[in-house]
Symmetry: C2
Subunit: 576 residues, 2 copies
Amino acid sequence: MFKILRVDMAGQKAVFEDIPEAYQGLGGRGLTSAVVAAEVDPTCHPLSPVNKLVLAPGLLAATNCANSGRISVGGKSPLTGTIKEANSGGQLGQYLGRLGIQAIIVEGQPPAGKLFKLVIGKDKAELVDAKELKGLGNYDSVAKLKETHGDKVGYCTIGQAGEWKLAAASVAFTDMELRPTRHAGRGGLGALMGSKGLKAIVVDPSGGEMAPLKDAEAFKDAAKRFAKALTDHPVTSGGLPTYGTDVLINIINEAGALPTRNFSRGRFEGAEKVGGETLNEITVKRGGNPTHGCMSGCIIRCSGIFLGPDGAYVSKWPEYETVWAWGPNCEIDDLDAIARIDRMCDDFGLDTIEMGCAMAVAMEGGLVEFGDVRGAERLLMEVGTGTPAGRILGSGTAAIGEVLGVSRIPVVKGQSLPAYDPRAVKGMGVTYATSTMGADHTAGYATGANIMKVGGYVDPLKPEGQVELSRNLQAATAAVDTAGLCLFVAFPVLDIPDALVAIVDMLNAKYGLSLTTDDVGALGQRVLNIEKDFNLRAGFSAGADRLPDFFRREALPPHNVVFDVSDEELDTTLKF
Amino acid sequence: MFKILRVDMAGQKAVFEDIPEAYQGLGGRGLTSAVVAAEVDPTCHPLSPVNKLVLAPGLLAATNCANSGRISVGGKSPLTGTIKEANSGGQLGQYLGRLGIQAIIVEGQPPAGKLFKLVIGKDKAELVDAKELKGLGNYDSVAKLKETHGDKVGYCTIGQAGEWKLAAASVAFTDMELRPTRHAGRGGLGALMGSKGLKAIVVDPSGGEMAPLKDAEAFKDAAKRFAKALTDHPVTSGGLPTYGTDVLINIINEAGALPTRNFSRGRFEGAEKVGGETLNEITVKRGGNPTHGCMSGCIIRCSGIFLGPDGAYVSKWPEYETVWAWGPNCEIDDLDAIARIDRMCDDFGLDTIEMGCAMAVAMEGGLVEFGDVRGAERLLMEVGTGTPAGRILGSGTAAIGEVLGVSRIPVVKGQSLPAYDPRAVKGMGVTYATSTMGADHTAGYATGANIMKVGGYVDPLKPEGQVELSRNLQAATAAVDTAGLCLFVAFPVLDIPDALVAIVDMLNAKYGLSLTTDDVGALGQRVLNIEKDFNLRAGFSAGADRLPDFFRREALPPHNVVFDVSDEELDTTLKF
């Protein structure tokens, strides 16, 4: 039943086609990367007509498997120049799955200035002029789209940043309440969508159905065991639903690995004021509900709703990465301000990690003082109004660093480092350096073993064992991203042996396969090899798999450590 | 007698040291590249303290060899991230040679905000506070320096762009009249100098002497034969001294290879109005002298002086590349405006090629209209005043393209393409794509054989033979840049067999060697291999040796050709 929807923006045609042989057996990141590697010239300019935007739900989409509704977005990245996949929660993955759409491939470009929405329903898809959405943020875009398409659909949109093709632009997806709060944030894929003249995708799942299962009974049993693992593990059943991902602030601060003041220190004196415990407390105090899912089928429900002092909705709970990027990294200790900023980023359509890092570099360059909330909000507002300074900031950390002549630029392959200092969580440093995506914590989350002792323990301050840790995690993650599972399933998967078996059992039951758990790692390796090959052809040698030099030279307080995994070791990370 | 002067900006010490074994036998580009490759971490941020700025006169400096006074400037490029050498005329190369200084290596950084000048004389060198030069352009800097150091010295300075560490910043050198009109323009080495807190280098040659010669008679004879070749060849004795390098406008326009409107067409209707013939005519009419050398010892004398309508000095004659970048490429046909712009670029300290290309991309992005002289001048002025828009422009073509979301970005490895469309001069396309420096016409000037039939003929519109042509030229050029010779000696060298023999004879006579002409190519290959290895370690794979994809997709009028040298062939170019 599954099809590819191929959308030609030059001719404004959308046609369904059978899934080519080469793409079969893949979903999510595995599929977006396979399409990009096969169909996109690796040396093209990311905003040129020959780049393609690919959206794909995972292999377990439209099933009763818990937390299986992630949607992958792929293309050649406007930020990094590498292959890119960023995935998101929200409803679109499940809806596309129910309509039997395994991927949307958007190619070509319409005449300059034209703006379209892609409207998808059961066995139909068309491009419709969307000039009424021009210049609107994601919130206003969704509000306007709802006037026409109602609230029984899912929306994917870009804000001003995407329309202007800024390299930090995200792709937004609506959550269960139709708020555009879930984002494929990293790598500027919103700019790629903007370059296609595509402002929105509307998906009406009515008439669709759950994915067919080769062995429904076996699937049901495995799904139940998988759900049990999620509800058994303390992280997915306790920490995350209660405090959100922001639970990490105090943990990582305690570990001395919370990057503060543009990666100058590992502890922030204001950490407690912005941590998950405080987030929970003020949410409850203001009458809100701390436990909330970002997509249907989620049983972790870590996303929360942030209410202002007056009890009115401000944003979803800012994620740990957002709180960190705009908080400790900018020396800001005000959760209300961070929630406002989160809302602005969601509205303009911006990666909060990239933007927070860019702001900290702007602060290091003297454009705004560290800790100056008003100054930061003012400059961020300029991204939405499109001033020169705003456009520089919206182009990301490397861009604003270049323009301001700053040399401490925390990026790998042009993408900002996330919220774990690589000197004090060295496994993350290996992932940042060697990931096919540029610096990306989700590509191989070594923090689990380095800090939380999930799936074993590797001393975060020592170089030994980090490469092997990152290698295994990167392969496993590529498989998880291909299945379309929320990355947080990794906590039970690493600690509860039956969780991984249950995933494999579900894949087998859905597709009539006989995979073993070893095949999961092999699938991840296959995906990584596709991505590595693309990057090599795009111009990146192993020499690009390095952290910025200051991480090797400047010792990080309080542990006073530098990043000391050798280049030679780094180069073995993704050799399978 | 020759020494290296090593300057520690952190400790503010300048010490002479013997030339290490590994650097012996090298000068100019060969020496700067050897130092950078051996002493600089290829993955460092170019503006970080561990990058080094290297200045080196060539192997034939401080001799009576004609046109041997070029000075090479090297480092890891703030613009491209590759190794970088840019060389310049002016007096400093000869002066350093006379003082027995084979290289200046500037390392480390002073406390932020500190600004120094390096004052060099016979057997002495010191760093002196230069806060009085802060924020000054090159013209004002030199004027102020002259108050202290007089007019019997040579000056090397950076303007505002270098102080602000903008990636298009150049390093300026004074000519015989002490005007800061000669620039090591490409690759942002002015930003590297700025990051060192070094505003100026003052070189007093008094007490210095010509380089010792192992065989003075043989040298004299060879120098005479070499000078004869220069005065015999029609390009170096006729075209260049009469019309300057701007003689190329009408030639390249006629060939349909003059990039017009951001590389959209190969002919410009206003070409004649900005060509060398017109330049000569208005210069004579205004009482100026078309024939003028940019350094002592030059017998080509192509640099000219541009006078305004009132007969007053405006700038040196704008070079062909400058006229093209700001003229046809921006659809501007006003030589007076181009001369004013040239003066502004020289004063702020900016690479005119990078800036003209950046302006054309700004025009394509809608910031200024094509052909709008006043708009272009206004925006360029902002580089000098440091507004956000000005800083973006001063960061170069790739930066402004990213900020404006433009996809037709004519750069290779982040550096702008010069004045020969690679579709219609395919040998240049091969050089742009594969040079170790990013797009650089001086790295292997295939226009000679493609258009002017100098050194043979290879059809510019066909892919055949271009790789071999570029390969040989790139090796020969690396050797010429190592000798410190003006690149224009290549015209006689390619057509008059004795010219190359004379160069080898001079090297042998100066150093007591017994090189053959084959050894010259081998020297060039050695230098290129050093540079290639650095770039590989810096993160560049062969996939980075590509032209922007639009040159393969968009046919260039009037010949309606695309760039069609295959990737596989490109990858063989610098394989020796």
